[in-house]
Symmetry: none
Subunit: 371 residues, 2 copies
Amino acid sequence: MTTKTKAKSAQALPLNTILSGDCIEVMNSLPEASVDLIFADPPYNLQLKGELHRPDNSQVDAVDDAWDQFSSFAAYDKFTTEWLRAARRLLKPNGAIWVIGSYHNIFRVGASLQNEGFWILNDVVWRKSNPMPNFRGKRLTNAHETMIWASKEEGGKYTFNYEALKSLNEGIQMRSDWVLPICTGHERLKDANGDKAHPTQKPESLLHRILVGSTNPGDVVLDPFFGTGTTGAVAKMLGRDYIGIEREAAYREVAEKRLAKVRKYDREALQVSQSKRAEPRVPFGQLIERGMLRPGENLYSMNLRHKAKVRADGTLIGDDIKGSIHQVGAALEGAPSCNGWTYWCIKRDGKQVPIDVFRQQIRAEMADRPN
Amino acid sequence: MTTKTKAKSAQALPLNTILSGDCIEVMNSLPEASVDLIFADPPYNLQLKGELHRPDNSQVDAVDDAWDQFSSFAAYDKFTTEWLRAARRLLKPNGAIWVIGSYHNIFRVGASLQNEGFWILNDVVWRKSNPMPNFRGKRLTNAHETMIWASKEEGGKYTFNYEALKSLNEGIQMRSDWVLPICTGHERLKDANGDKAHPTQKPESLLHRILVGSTNPGDVVLDPFFGTGTTGAVAKMLGRDYIGIEREAAYREVAEKRLAKVRKYDREALQVSQSKRAEPRVPFGQLIERGMLRPGENLYSMNLRHKAKVRADGTLIGDDIKGSIHQVGAALEGAPSCNGWTYWCIKRDGKQVPIDVFRQQIRAEMADRPN
DNA sequence: TTCCGTCTTGAATCCAAGC
DNA sequence: AGCTTGGATTCAAGACGGA
């Protein structure tokens, strides 16, 4: 085993190929300090129990694959520490790593990263523009995943293309929260049956931003949990070299086909990375949370014929009618609908102040620093 | 010390006061299972070396940087584990905790939470609408902080006011990413010199959303790192009881003054939108007992594709299937479940009348004559 | 061809009361 | 404690089909 490792170390890196096998073993067989960036999407250890149905009775296709099952936190920690150690050995001194996860695993991954000597640069939140809702109404919509960006060690001269990310963000400094859609439509790879080829395929837009921001053309990017090869595909488009490691033959096959089709600097694919921006929706509740209105305060219709009291959750109560500013307005007017923003005002210093001015105020703040 | 602890345990909770001292000691002196919610904003400086025990690892040289780093992490982990354990002891079985942190400490906090038996419900991102920019352009703008919401244990029946949070968000399910401004302006407390009284004062909007969403009026909320008392201030406004613990006299003083000025919202304003689950259950059989439906009468599915006959005991029979309104509906639709109240209707005067209107009628009567 | 309504789907730790 | 039963619960996109 040692002989084999030594022999391989002398060899050149297997660039732009997908290696098969357990990622820890494979990584240990590659020459140390040879990789510029690692992107890793390890199993999340979701610990799902029963089935879950949508309100329309359809069943959610859960991630129940064997590769996501661990017997305990300790087992998961051991796995995490081992692959992180192997990954760190492969990194050049100025190399860096990105790891993505959810609340199920990311805290353990982050702690292991720190324990192993990585130096966290940022945690980055991928805010999904179209997440799956919480169907039972028992928790908050799980609308984001967390990525950790870390250098190999404290003081490492990691790559950060500040200006490139700034221009991706319309001239404003890129923030630690990125709004991007999940991977759907034609980008989502299907198997022979027409089912999704991989349960957790990441969007190319995410990798695009990561690779533009933290690698240069010609850099070597390694992905130890290659899956269907999103990292490789984006790396190839952007003129970076990739190395993929994947245990499952089915995923490797899909990834090979995908990569064969990818062209460097694919214009169309880069378009995907730009997220749309619409007029931000301002919930009325924000006016209460931000202290612009106080629970218990009265709102008046602009014609002063009706009034209603603001409650702590942003609903109104007036004459036995409870509901949103729109619902209560409509009910009081006997109208099918009502724009509460223009219907209601408050009295300040004897004057009527339409509540819409508060919304405009919040929108103005948001416009200062979009996205 | 033990005597004091025992004596205190027998006492009533020191509600709506700020306790001075080390939070671990103070928490251990309070009676167990007495608190509904804990909000914690722990310090994350890793400069705890020397104060606490070093890890038992004799073969590593003391001047090794990696060892220093590990030592520092180990000390922080020890501190975290201890205060979390004390906090968990204080929680009622159905209690919950919120902890806020940044990438410096949140991964260690999250892992400790899991190790100590808390059950993570969501991680929530506070996305700052006005963060401080990264001046040196070496990293992404650190524009968010992370909060972890966890129940005392797996299966705990934590409080979650789903409808209230949905209302705060204009009728759309609340997500795990919250856009709120940082604490500035008149809300930001100043000391005698006009400098900020506390370096990391949290905005009241953040606590408003947390307390509306995960507590009820009258609940006891504890904050072991009270600082300038944002948790207490919002708790008081919202008609919750608070207990603060703070080590620094200067912060306690600022907090006391602040809390003295806070007014509670009026009772009506504290009522929030309720889930349908909170409404009293009405057995279908009541509709027959009260003569709203006659045995032998036909019910029709809303799409008129199925029908079933009402029996005297409140069960249905249709196409060989017998059972409750829910069971028969589910069986006819081949669905895993079915809400019979919204599935079935009767025909009166040629019109379809959903049977749910009868349930609402009964509930209205119950509200008129409670108990 | 375009528009509009319907159907499908996504890393999910997703129920609670009563017997 | 464990089982049974009632009945509450979803948002944004893209695909697809019919007008």
